[in-house]
Symmetry: C2
């Protein structure tokens, strides 16, 4: 059985690492010469809108999935006529557009921050009478890791912020002074079976995820799981989905969802019985979903821009290192460390030690 | 950093799967066209005694290891002049010959069954006056999975058994009516750091390992660890070693050692903080050894000859499936299932269910 993947980055790489033990093989389509999944998967080098390359992928693969949502929906539409593609197209097109996404949340009675779609400066000015400062302006499409976003604090910010977007359709939202950013990762297979991992608390710096901690038996679990199940069932979803939420007091507000395995779920590689990568593969192959039971304490620290001393990292008893085989570059995700244990004091001590190692490069 | 491996079977495959997250890459030398490690490692196709191919491996790899002990010692000797090779040659040549192996055990005060080297039928007949029936005749070299062995129950067996060996040098040993067969797996790095996994109880059928169970806090741990440390230090060993022992009452008798990762340690993939494959790589790269702490209950069931229904296996909550991507063939190891949990009742229930699934094909 050969799994096709659109994209050959670290998520494709970790899908393949999780899938080989199930007896699966992998082929990915990626434009770059040194796609980091290339050491564990065959590669078709080409652009995502290259029909001949898509045709080849469809011929070679028994089922196709994707590792990120900024691929042309037309590519998935084309492939889906020739080979099963999961998650479904509707999930992809919805996740690609913040307006569709927010409207779907509302339709499913999933709370969101207030939002207004914006097509020009006048609409932005009008919206800021309805939505109070501070607010956040986001492009409807193509945003990731905080890119394509601007915080609006006063009327004077509007013109600059709008011009910065180069006139692309946008959305303006209430800026939420959240207590926590959390995400929930869940899997659904063809048969409609659903499994949710424990919610994860996420810490971003400058829009990039730095740290995630699994919250076993957290008070937000029930609400978050309920929200994500509504999404999964409505979309007749197959695969892993990630729903990102802001928590304010007891309230959860949906921010966005990703129709894929997610950085905030990397801790499951060492902290859950079956990780998000294997469960994504099980879901798209309609195999029984694996247990999402987790260790008592589990967290993940991202390695960004540089990789610190491997020796120092590996000296920490519960550190599991996951490098992506990528060259160092500012702002680039190069790997992560998982820390999983049943002892809280050890957990906190090792996280502290690892954060020191990571911060001192 | 590129790791070279002599052999491209499942052990090489699992070394590579464990090593990619450390940012390592792999190249293996294997004669077969469909070496199952080929999906996660580059391959040089060639025989182990092909000097040009060994030369190429030495050029490409920063350090070389091997996945099984039936490779020509001359190949390792040749490579070792050009590139670091671990485990050391002396460990390989000793493990390749049951007589050298047993003599080393004795030298290190590691108890063994009584044994006599045999070069002809007369020596065999003479030996059976010293060693009582039942005894076991084994070729000194090239034996694995019970091959090259014959049980001797009476004088009449001697001629047939000896003729069966085609005159190769052999060893005759006391047949041990053991209570348990156990193994201990340990790692040693360049710096002399040693870590031992919990001993494992092993069940063989017709010479092939079928089932291994980790024995956490077992009464045999101290003695087994002491034995394996003597071996590691004497050999100035680097890498993972496996020492197989017979237990009779409280006594441990060394049977053989393997200078490599071992089937009886596959449970560590899901039942230990750092598994045998990663610890082998850490050892040969002189990185800090990873924790060998294990879950309370851990076991492994081998999949031999056929792979049963993947659906049924994956329905068991704590089953982690590891397939090798090999065609089905009688007597061939095709994969294994690990079962790891902290609850004894669940553990026993799932092992029973999985053994039923495996036995019913």
């Amino acid at each position: 059985m050969i799994i096709g993947i659109l994209g050959g980055g670290q998520l494709a790489r970790m899908l393949a690492l999780a899938g080989h033990p199930l007896g699966l093989q992998f082929i990915m389509l990626d434009p770059s010469e040194d796609a980091c999944a290339g050491v564990v998967a065959d590669q078709i080098q080409g652009r995502y809108n290259d029909i001949a390359k898509l045709e080849l992928l469809a011929q070679k693969a028994d089922v196709v999935t994707y590792e990120f949502e900024n691929i042309p929906a037309a590519a998935v539409e084309f492939l889906a006529k020739k080979v099963p593609v999961y998650p479904p197209l509707l999930a992809l097109t919805t996740a690609q557009d913040r307006l569709y996404e927010k409207k779907l949340f509302r339709k499913l009675d999933i709370c969101t921050p207030a939002f207004v779609p914006i097509n020009n400066l006048e609409e932005l000015q009008r919206a800021l009478k309805e939505i109070s400062y501070p607010a956040i302006l986001k492009t409807r499409t193509q945003g990731y890791d905080g890119k394509g976003q601007a915080i609006l604090r006063r009327n004077a910010d509007l013109t600059t912020a709008w011009e910065h977007l180069n006139g692309v359709p946008a959305i303006v939202e209430d800026f939420i002074p959240f207590d926590r950013e959390i995400s929930i990762i869940a899997a659904r297979n063809h048969s409609g079976e659903i499994k949710c991992y424990p919610v994860t608390e996420n810490v971003h710096h400058a829009g990039i995820l730095h740290f995630s901690k699994a919250l076993k038996n957290d008070s937000a679990q029930h609400q978050a799981a309920d929200y994500v199940k509504r999404l999964l069932n409505h979309l007749d979803y197959v695969g892993i989905i990630t729903l990102e939420l802001f928590q304010v007091g007891d309230q959860l507000l949906a921010n966005e969802f990703a129709p894929r395995v997610h950085n905030s779920g990397h801790w499951t590689q060492n902290g859950a019985i079956i990780d998000q990568f294997e469960n994504h593969l099980r879901a798209i192959l309609d195999l029984p979903l694996g247990s999402t039971d987790s260790s008592d304490y589990a967290a993940m620290i991202n390695l960004i821009s540089t990789v610190p001393s491997r020796e120092k990292i590996l000296q920490q008893t519960h550190a599991n290192l996951h490098l992506y085989g990528k060259e160092e570059r500012t702002g680039r995700k190069l790997g992560h460390i998982n820390i999983c244990t049943s002892d809280e004091a050890t957990f906190n001590k090792e996280i502290g030690a690892l954060q020191n190692i990571v911060n001192s490069g």
